[in-house]
C-alpha cells in the first residue's frame, strides 16, 4: 500500500485536478457554446487559442504562464495588487497549469455535444412559453449533459497527468506542487526509490482507468432512462 508521503501526493493531485476542472468548467462551456453556435469575426483565432495548449510543447505553455503570472507579468502583478496573492510555486499555480492544459479537451468534448443538439427543440420550447434562458436551462443544457460529463472526466484525467507545464511554471516542490507525475519523475531520479515510483505509477493507472469507466457509466446512465420502455 501507499505510504503517508505517497498518500499526500495522491491527495494533492486530486485537489489540483479537481479544482482545475471545476474552475475551468464554466469557462470551457461558454467557449464551447460560443464556438458551436455563433459565427463572428475572430472566431478562428479564438478556436486556435483554445486549442493551442493541445499542440504546443507543454514546456512552452509553462514558460508562457511563468511570463504572464510571474511577479513582473501582467496577470501576476494584477493578482498581487488586487488580491495580494501569487500562484507562483503554489498548488494553485499547478491547478492553473492543469486547467490550461485541460481546456482544449474539455471544449472539444462539450462543443461536439452542443453541436449535436437539435436546435428545433429550443424553438419548440419557446412556443410553449419558455424564454431564452429557461429554454437553455431546461432543454439545451440537459441535452448537452453527456458531453459536459465526458469533458469533466477527460479534463480531470488530463489534469492529473499534467507534467511539463506544471514543472516549468511552479517547479517541483514536495507538498505544494509535486503531483503524481512529478513525484514519479523525482522518484526515478533517486537511487532506491523504484518501489515508490512503481506504486505511484500503478496508482495512476488505476485512477485513469477508474475515470474512464466512470465517464462511460455516466454517459450510459444519462441515456439509459430514455430507452427503458423502448419497444
Amino acid at each position: 500500500m501507499l505510504s503517508a508521503e505517497e498518500w499526500g501526493i495522491v491527495v494533492l493531485s486530486l485537489k489540483v485536478g479537481g479544482v482545475a476542472v471545476l474552475a475551468t468548467l464554466p469557462i470551457a462551456f461558454a467557449l464551447a457554446w460560443v464556438l458551436a453556435r455563433y459565427r463572428f469575426p475572430g472566431r478562428l483565432l479564438v478556436d486556435g487559442l483554445v486549442h493551442l495548449p493541445l499542440v504546443l510543447p507543454p514546456v512552452v505553455t509553462g514558460w508562457l504562464l511563468l511570463i504572464a503570472f510571474g511577479p513582473l507579468g501582467p496577470a501576476g502583478r494584477w493578482l498581487e495588487s488586487w488580491f495580494g496573492v501569487s500562484v507562483m510555486f503554489r498548488w494553485t499555480g499547478a491547478a492553473l497549469a492543469a486547467a490550461i492544459m485541460a481546456l482544449p479537451l474539455m471544449v472539444r468534448a462539450m462543443r461536439l455535444s452542443i453541436e449535436g443538439i437539435d436546435r428545433r427543440y429550443e424553438g419548440a420550447a419557446r412556443t410553449l412559453g419558455a424564454g431564452r434562458w429557461h429554454a437553455f436551462r431546461t432543454i439545451s443544457l440537459p441535452l448537452a449533459l453527456p458531453g459536459v460529463l465526458a469533458a469533466l472526466v477527460l479534463g480531470f484525467a488530463r489534469s492529473i497527468g499534467e507534467f511539463g507545464a506544471t514543472i516549468t511554471f511552479v517547479s517541483n516542490i514536495p507538498g505544494e506542487t509535486r503531483t503524481l507525475p512529478l513525484a514519479i519523475y523525482s522518484a526515478l531520479q533517486v537511487p532506491g526509490a523504484e518501489a515508490m515510483a512503481t506504486r505511484l505509477a500503478l496508482f495512476s493507472v488505476a485512477l485513469s482507468l477508474a475515470a474512464l469507466i466512470l465517464s462511460e457509466w455516466l454517459v450510459r446512465r444519462t441515456h439509459a432512462g430514455r430507452v427503458r420502455h423502448g419497444d
Binding site: G123, A124, R126, T127, L128, H134, T138, R226
Partner: protein
C-alpha cells in the same frame, strides 16, 4: 377570433408572401411542397421574422407596427411535423412543460382533461422514444393544448403516420375544431386531408 396575416419574407432566392384572414374553425394552408407553408407558420409562431407586414390575433398584434412579440409571449400552440417531443423528459413532463409556464388565467385545460381527450392517460410515464408515431403526435397535440393557446398551428401532423393512424388523429383534430372551438392554422399538401378537415382553404405559392 380572426387571425389576420399579411407578411412577406425573402429566404434565399425566393420570396414567401401571403395575405389572408383566417376565421374560426380550421384554415388549411394548402400548396405544393417548398411553397413556404412551414415558413409561414414559423412567422406566426415567432420563430422566423418577416421582412415586413403584420400578424394579428383579434385585437392583439403579434408582429407589425413596431411590435415583434417573442415566441413565448404569443400564446400559440404549435404541433410540428415530427412531433418534436423533448427526448429527455417523460410524456408527463413534456405535456406539462408549457402548462407550468403559462399563467393560471391562460390555461383552459388540465392534464387529466388533455389525457382523457387524447386517450393518452396510459402513456404518461413513458419516454418519447418508446412511443409510436401516432402516440407521439397525440402527446405533441396535448402539449400544445396544455400551453393554453389562443390558436393552434399544425404543420402536416399526419405526414409521418400510416393510413390506419391518420384516421384517429384526424378525428382528434375535428374535435379540437368543433368541441374546443380552437382556431387552427393547418398546413398540408394533401387534398383529401384538406377536404375533410378545412373550414376555409388558403392557397399558398400559386
Amino acid at each position: 377570433m380572426a387571425i389576420e396575416i399579411d407578411v412577406a419574407k425573402r429566404l434565399g432566392d425566393r420570396t414567401i408572401a401571403a395575405a389572408f384572414t383566417a376565421g374560426p374553425g380550421l384554415t388549411a394552408l394548402f400548396g405544393p411542397s417548398g411553397a413556404g407553408k412551414t415558413s409561414l407558420l414559423n412567422m406566426v409562431a415567432g420563430l422566423l421574422r418577416p421582412d415586413r407586414g403584420h400578424i394579428r390575433i383579434g385585437e392583439r398584434t403579434l408582429f407589425g407596427a413596431g411590435i415583434d412579440l417573442p415566441p413565448e409571449a404569443r400564446r400559440i400552440g404549435y404541433v410540428f411535423q415530427d412531433g418534436r417531443l423533448f427526448p429527455h423528459r417523460r410524456v408527463r413532463a413534456n405535456l406539462l412543460y408549457g402548462h407550468d409556464l403559462a399563467a393560471p388565467a391562460e390555461r383552459w385545460m388540465s392534464l387529466d382533461e388533455a389525457a382523457a381527450f387524447l386517450g393518452i392517460a396510459h402513456l404518461l410515464d413513458r419516454w418519447p422514444r418508446s412511443l409510436s408515431g401516432g402516440e407521439a403526435q397525440r402527446v405533441a397535440i396535448g402539449r400544445a393544448l396544455l400551453r393554453g393557446p389562443e390558436i393552434l398551428l399544425m404543420d402536416e401532423p399526419l405526414s409521418s403516420l400510416d393510413a390506419a393512424r391518420r384516421g384517429g388523429i384526424m378525428a382528434v383534430i375535428e374535435r379540437i375544431r368543433d368541441e374546443l372551438a380552437l382556431p387552427i392554422l393547418y398546413v398540408s399538401h394533401d387534398r383529401a386531408e384538406v377536404d375533410r378537415l378545412a373550414t376555409q382553404v388558403v392557397a399558398i405559392g400559386e
